[in-house]
Symmetry: none
Subunit: 202 residues, 4 copies
DNA sequence: GATGAATGAGCTTTCATTCAT
DNA sequence: AATGAATGAAAGCTCATTCAT
């Protein structure tokens, strides 16, 4: 643990978020207490409340943080001049590598954000706290359609496929049910997604 | 609410599970209290503990109940003598209709079972509490492969697609993000899944 | 301390109120904690909340209790067939005797109810939690006017005199500033009040 | 808010007291926090502690300030060469005008000083923090007796009448129970007090 | 004098679970 | 089987006060 007291201002906010992110995703939102978080980063409970005014607000800031992080990764891919099939492969790759290197991010999305609606009800209405991420998926999809590489279907139908599929795999991995590493499935899954989304009318 | 006191034995157990299922899926596991459940079915908290020895155990019995229910539905489809493409369509249909008619079942799976690992850690190791359901998906998949209709890929890669996709759509629906009813997407999604799983080597 | 566990239902509610009344009036509302009250009556904190759903609600029930108690005492006097001067003397007497025998009641009125507006804001709007008491003062005053014994002045001007005066004396007594017992002042004060309120137009 | 930083020394002390006075009387002593006060005057909490060594000490300085202020007003009246009846009228007038123009002063007296004994226990024993004010009431009363205009009764009996009555009226006003403005009652109340205190033996 | 981040004890309230009846 | 009062540990959050800068 790097000395928390050496950090300041915005850095401390981020240090708190990263630690809470780990605990929330590993232990669950309700089973992680504020004192747990404070102790883990070596600060006092009271001071934590100087940075986030409630446990719920902290949870909301974290999901925005994750959405922003993943959104930026996707943006890089969207900016590349490659085919939709290649983009799908890269998206799956980045998603699974994130799940491997920073599993708490994906777990948080699945187990904290998606599962505890009541926590995000006020402050994250609709999908405003994850819009950075969703926007990039939308851009990927619409460009693919425009270029004639992807079939012009309902966006949500495509989005649900993407996110549900990837999320489901990460979940199975988290449950230690998968016999192989996540990265083992990258090719299969990229192919499945491409098969599902591609435009046959050529 | 039908008179709880008229029921007996196993029927009471089931009445408790159904009420708890509704409350857990709607309000969340941690935000639903045992007194909430007892009051909703008109019995005392003390007596509820005569049927389930803890809140966690109740939650575990419920997921087994759901798995069994959905497993039976899938079994009917598996027993029909139709193509894999048709089976996929039927599975998607039954899933979305369940999500529409008894949304608490699917929501419970997504928001209670998948999200609150700690509750199911002891008693539902691996996927033993949802094996009825998973077994039928496995049967569907292996038969499709055997008949040469589906590509012989890793089971989990296919399973993740199926469950993640369907779950993701139900989630989007629960968030009131989908512009259309769930049933509207049945054809698109069935097609996407089939495209992803089908055997091209013919 | 009588065995709390022997009591039941409404009796326990009352036992809690009486103990809280003592502590709130002696130590102050904010400096008395719920554990303090629970410990003083030998019950658990959690169980106390089975009887009163918050500290504020408990405080509100207590002021209603006091108002009802004092209201009944005044009612007896109002029902007697005596002059207004005699009634004043009896009211002052009963007030000071209450202040002597059950000082917490009067202290509560002065130091908890009158002073901590925010606690009674929602639930005791206007004077609805003390209406039993005020109503009797109003009856006394209006009958005196009707009989021609008291001057027909604004009710609040008369009411403020009565309650402010008596309250002020009890306060001075509580501060241990009065050189004599409260009862020593009964005649002087009754006379002063009568002089202030009587009808000279005869 | 005038620039706090322009002031210095004793002026800053007074600025703090005036702001705390407003907040304590309006929001209550325990519901007003030190940061609330600091923010309201645009200074830091740390610096506030350079002027007052604790919240309790601040509260004590404020009551002394109020007592001194009101004492001076009464002194002017005592110095006038007018009858006791006229003095009573002037005292009531000044009291109610203060309650109208600077309501926080009277409210503080009633709701902070009188109600939160524990805060003033050490430092304001007896009535030493309000002696400036009480002394003037005493002077008024004793001169009235000496001149034969007021009956020679126990001082506290007279003092309680005065302060209790006026305080009670201000309280009723604060509760928005009075149908009229406070000043409307000046004549009635002055008369009531005079009737109560005057010497009939002439 | 001035700042405000930091402390941590202590508050109100909740709730799974027990048990005497 | 049935009741629901009782328990008490533990939660989220507050705030007077301190102190390094």
């Amino acid at each position: 643990m790097s000395k928390f007291s050496k950090l300041k201002g915005e850095q401390k906010r981020e240090a708190i978020m990263l630690q809470a992110l780990k605990l929330f995703s590993k232990e669950g939102f309700y089973t992680t207490t504020i004192p747990d978080i404070a102790k883990a980063i070596g600060m006092s409970v009271g001071n934590l409340y100087n940075y986030f005014k409630s446990k719920d607000m902290l949870a909301q800031e974290i999901i925005k943080y994750i959405s922003s992080y993943l959104g930026k990764e996707l943006q890089k891919i969207n900016n590349e001049d490659i085919s939709s099939a290649e983009k799908i492969h890269k998206i799956v790759t980045i998603y699974f590598h994130t799940a491997k290197d920073r599993p708490e991010m994906i777990e948080y999305f699945l187990r904290v954000y998606l599962a505890n609606r009541e926590v995000f009800k006020e402050g994250c209405e609709g999908m405003i706290c994850v819009s950075d991420f969703i926007t990039e998926i939308m851009i990927f999809f619409e460009e693919g359609v425009r270029k004639g590489e992807l079939r012009d279907q309902d966006f949500f139908s495509a989005f649900g496929l993407f996110m549900g599929y990837l999320g489901g795999m990460v979940f199975l991995h988290g449950e230690e049910i998968l016999p192989e590493e996540l990265t083992y499935y990258i090719d299969d899954i990229s192919r499945n997604i491409y098969q599902a989304l591609k435009n046959d009318q050529v």
